[in-house]
C-alpha cells in the first residue's frame, strides 16, 4: 500500500497497538532543557525510576539562560537566582542519570532545535521529542518530531516510549519560485495566515512542492519550526540530497558502512506515488511577497505592503472580537498600512531564524549601514557553533559596526524569561515565532517577519520592505 512519509516513520516506531488504546510509540531521540524537565526528573525520583536510554537523551540550556556577553573571565553571568537554580538542577539531574548536558557557554550549547541538527543527531526517519512545541523543527529532515508536556518527558525518560493516537495527514504544497527578498519565513507566515492558527490541529503537516525542494536545510527548518503555529504538532519534509549533504560528516551522523545503510533507508522514506493525505492546501511561491504579522497570533499575518484588516468587515462575531482585541493590544487602527510604522526593537534570533544562513541574510542587508537611532537591535546566534561560524565569517563585526548587539546563544527575546525582553508598549520586529500578548515581555508588541525584513527595519527604524533595499544593492542569495 502506498504510504506517506509520516506513515512510514510512524509505522516503523509502533511498539504495540492495544485495542481501544493509544499506540505505544518508540522514541529515538529525546532532547531536554532546563525549563520543562525538572518536574519530570522529580517523578522519576519519587518512584525510584532510572532513565531507560541515557544514550538517546541529550540536554542543553537555552530558555532561561542570559545572552549577555561574557565577562573578562570568559563566563556568562547568571544573575537571576531562579534561573541559576534551574540550570544547576539540570546539571544535577543529568549527572545523576548519566545524560550528556551542554552547559551554558560551552562549545555545543545552544537552542535545543539548533544543536540537534548541528550535531548530526537529527536524522531522517527518526522519532524525536522534546518538552518544547518547536520540536517540529526537526521534521525538516524527514523525522517525526513533536513537542510534549512534562508528564510525557517523564514517560520518555523512564520508558523511551509515548502513548499516542495516530494523527491525520495534511499536505501543504508550495510550487514555484520565490522572488528576491522573499524567504522561507515568508512562506510559513503565508501558510499560517491562510490555514489559521488552528488549521493544523490534529494533523501532521508534510510540506511538498518545488519551492520547498529548492530550500536549503536551514530554510526548511524555519518552515517546519512554525508548524505548531498552525496547530500541527509536527511538520515534515521528505529527505533528499540536500538533507544528506547537510548531515554527512557531522559529529553524531552515521559513519562508513553505517552511513551507507542509513542512506539506503532514508531514500525509501519519501511519500509513495499514489499515497493520499487527509487534507491538502496549495500555495504559489511565485506570488509571495514579504509577510508581516499585525496581531497577537501568528495567523494574523499579511503581505508587508498590505493594510491592517478592519474588524467591521469580519462577519463571524467571535473572530471579529478576537481581531478587535488584537488591534487594541497592538495599538493599531483598522486599514492602516504597516510600512513606515516605527519600532523600538529589532530581534534577530530564536529557533526559527538564528542559524548561520539567517545571520548571513541579516548581515548582507546591514553591511555598510547603521541601525536607526533609538532602535535597539539584538542579534542572537542560535548556538555557540553558529556564533563561532559567524565570527569566523566576520558577521559579528558587520553587526557591531552597524550598531547592533552581538549576543551569546539562547532563546533570548523570543520567550522573555532570561532578561532579554521588551518594555511595556514597545514595538518590535522579530524573527521569532510568536506574537502572543506579552510573549516578548509584558505589554510588548511584536511584528513577526523574516531576517531580511528585520534587518531592513533596523536600518530605517520603521517597518521596511526588504525588497526596496535589495534593489539598491547587489543581488544576494536569499535561499
Amino acid at each position: 500500500m502506498a504510504k506517506t512519509l509520516f506513515e512510514k516513520v510512524w509505522d516503523a516506531h509502533v511498539v504495540a497497538s492495544p485495542p481501544n488504546s493509544p499506540s505505544i510509540l518508540y522514541i529515538d531521540l529525546h532532547l531536554i532543557h532546563e525549563v520543562t524537565s525538572p518536574q519530570a526528573f522529580t517523578v522519576l525520583r519519587e518512584r525510584g525510576l532510572k532513565v531507560r536510554r541515557p544514550q538517546q537523551t541529550i540536554a542543553t540550556m537555552d530558555h532561561s539562560t542570559p545572552t549577555t556577553p561574557r565577562g573578562l573571565d570568559g563566563i556568562i553571568p547568571v544573575v537571576d537566582a531562579m534561573a541559576r537554580a534551574q540550570l544547576d538542577q539540570l546539571v544535577k539531574n543529568c549527572q545523576e542519570h548519566n545524560i550528556r548536558v551542554f552547559e551554558l557557554g560551552t562549545e555545543h550549547q545552544g537552542i535545543v532545535h539548533v544543536i540537534g541538527p548541528e550535531l548530526g543527531l537529527t536524522q531522517p526517519g527518526m522519532t524525536i521529542v522534546c518538552g518544547d512545541s518547536h520540536t517540529s523543527t526537526h521534521g525538516a529532515f524527514g523525522a517525526l518530531a513533536f513537542g510534549i508536556g512534562t508528564s510525557e518527558v517523564a514517560h520518555v525518560l523512564a520508558t523511551q516510549t509515548l502513548l499516542q493516537y495516530k494523527p491525520k495527514t495534511f499536505e501543504i504544497r508550495v510550487d514555484g519560485q520565490l522572488a528576491d527578498g522573499v524567504v522561507a519565513k515568508d512562506i510559513i507566515l503565508a501558510i499560517i495566515a491562510n490555514i489559521g492558527v488552528g488549521g493544523g490541529t490534529g494533523y501532521v503537516l508534510e510540506y511538498t512542492g518545488s519551492a520547498i525542494r529548492s530550500l536549503n536545510m536551514e530554510a526548511r527548518m524555519t518552515i517546519c519550526n512554525m508548524s505548531i503555529e498552525a496547530g500541527a504538532r509536527a511538520g515534515m519534509i521528505a529527505p533528499d540530497d540536500t538533507t544528506f549533504e547537510y548531515i554527512i560528516g557531522r559529529q553524531y551522523a552515521p559513519k562508513g558502512k553505517a552511513w551507507e545503510e542509513a542512506l539506503a533507508y532514508w531514500r525509501t522514506l519519501p511519500t509513495d506515488e499514489g499515497a493520499t493525505y487527509d487534507r491538502q492546501f496549495t500555495l504559489n511561491a511565485d506570488e509571495l511577497v514579504p509577510m508581516i504579522t499585525y496581531g497577537t497570533n501568528p495567523g494574523m499575518g499579511m503581505p508587508i505592503t498590505g493594510q491592517v484588516p478592519d474588524p467591521a468587515k469580519v462577519g463571524d462575531a467571535s473572530e471579529k472580537a478576537g481581531l478587535e482585541k488584537a488591534l487594541q493590544y497592538m495599538g493599531l487602527q483598522p486599514n492602516q498600512p504597516l510600512l513606515g510604522h516605527p519600532v523600538d526593537v529589532v530581534f534577530i534570533g530564536s529557533c526559527t531564524n538564528s542559524r548561520i544562513t539567517d545571520l548571513r541574510l541579516a548581515a548582507d542587508m546591514l553591511k555598510g549601514h547603521r541601525v536607526a537611532e533609538n532602535v535597539r537591535v539584538l542579534v542572537v546566534p542560535g548556538s555557540q557553533q553558529v556564533k563561532k561560524q559567524a565570527e569566523a565569517e566576520g558577521l559579528d563585526k558587520i553587526f557591531k559596526e552597524a550598531g547592533a548587539e552581538w549576543r551569546e546563544a539562547g532563546c533570548s527575546m523570543c520567550i522573555a524569561m532570561n532578561g532579554d525582553q521588551l518594555q511595556p508598549g514597545q514595538y518590535a520586529v522579530s524573527t521569532s515565532n510568536r506574537n502572543f500578548e506579552g510573549r516578548q515581555g509584558r505589554g510588548g508588541r511584536t511584528f513577526l517577519a523574516s531576517p531580511l525584513t528585520a534587518a531592513a527595519t533596523a536600518i530605517h527604524g520603521v517597518i521596511t520592505d526588504p525588497r526596496t533595499m535589495i534593489r539598491a544593492k547587489q543581488p544576494i542569495e536569499v535561499n
Binding site: 492495544p18 518508540y26 518544547d132 508536556g149 516510549t161 502513548l163 488552528g198 467571535s318
Partner: protein
C-alpha cells in the same frame, strides 16, 4: 503520582469567550523559572488579571471549577505549567469547541477535563451565562455528559483510554510499565539510531 479519580461534580461556569487563548496567556513564561509545581496558581492569567474587569477578578466566580473558553484553547507552547496552573487555581474542566493538541494531552494527564461541545451548545452556554451570571453546570465523566440548568444534557467525546484513566485514577506511566515486554522486544529488534556519550 496517582491521580484522584474524577467524580461527577457541579460548579458555576466562568465565561472567557475568547478564541485562540494561548498558553503564554494562561501562564506567562516568567513563571516557568521553577523546578516544582508550587506557586503556579498566582501566575494563572496573571497579565489579564491586572485588569480589574477581568472575569477572574469578579467575586461571583470565586471558587468556580469550570471555564468556558473560545475555540482552540491552549494553543502555542507545550508548557504543562498551563494545566498545572489551571488545576492549582481550582479549575477541573474547560469547555470549548476544540482544544490545541498538546494542551489537551497535558490536561488529561493532570485530571483537568477538556470538554468539547459543538458551536451551538457553546453559544447556548454563553447565552445562559449572559442571562444568569452564576450558571451552574453539572459534569459527569462516566456518562460523558454536561447538564445545563434547563435540564438539557449534552454528551461530549473522550477516548476510552483517557476516560478509564481519569475515572479510575490510573496514571499513564504506570500503564506504560505494563507494556515493558513489548518495549524490550522492540529494542532488541531495533538498534538505537544514535548513541550519545554520558554526562
Amino acid at each position: 503520582m496517582i491521580m484522584e479519580p474524577i467524580k461527577p461534580f457541579s460548579s458555576v461556569a466562568v465565561p472567557l469567550p475568547i478564541e485562540n487563548i494561548d498558553t503564554d496567556q494562561i501562564i506567562p513564561a516568567r513563571y516557568l523559572k521553577v523546578t516544582d509545581k508550587s506557586s503556579l496558581a498566582e501566575g494563572l492569567f496573571s497579565d489579564w488579571r491586572e485588569d480589574p474587569n477581568f472575569v477572574l477578578n469578579d467575586e461571583r466566580y470565586k471558587g468556580a471549577q469550570i471555564l468556558v473558553a473560545g475555540h482552540n484553547f491552549g494553543c502555542g507552547s507545550s508548557r504543562e505549567h498551563a494545566p498545572w496552573a489551571l488545576k492549582a487555581y481550582g479549575f477541573r474542566a474547560i469547555i470549548s469547541t476544540y482544544f490545541a493538541d498538546i494542551f489537551r494531552n497535558n490536561a488529561l494527564k493532570n485530571g483537568l477535563l477538556p470538554i468539547v461541545v459543538d458551536a451551538e451548545t457553546h453559544q447556548k452556554i454563553l447565552d445562559m451565562i449572559a442571562e444568569v451570571p452564576q450558571t451552574t453546570i453539572h459534569v459527569d465523566l462516566e456518562a460523558q455528559t454536561i447538564t445545563l440548568p434547563d435540564g438539557q444534557s449534552v454528551t461530549f467525546p473522550i477516548d476510552a483510554f483517557s476516560k478509564t484513566c481519569l475515572l479510575e485514577g490510573i496514571d499513564e506511566l504506570g500503564y506504560l510499565f505494563t507494556q515493558m515486554p513489548a518495549i524490550e522486544a522492540y529494542e532488541s529488534a531495533h538498534p538505537p539510531r544514535v548513541s550519545i556519550g554520558g554526562a
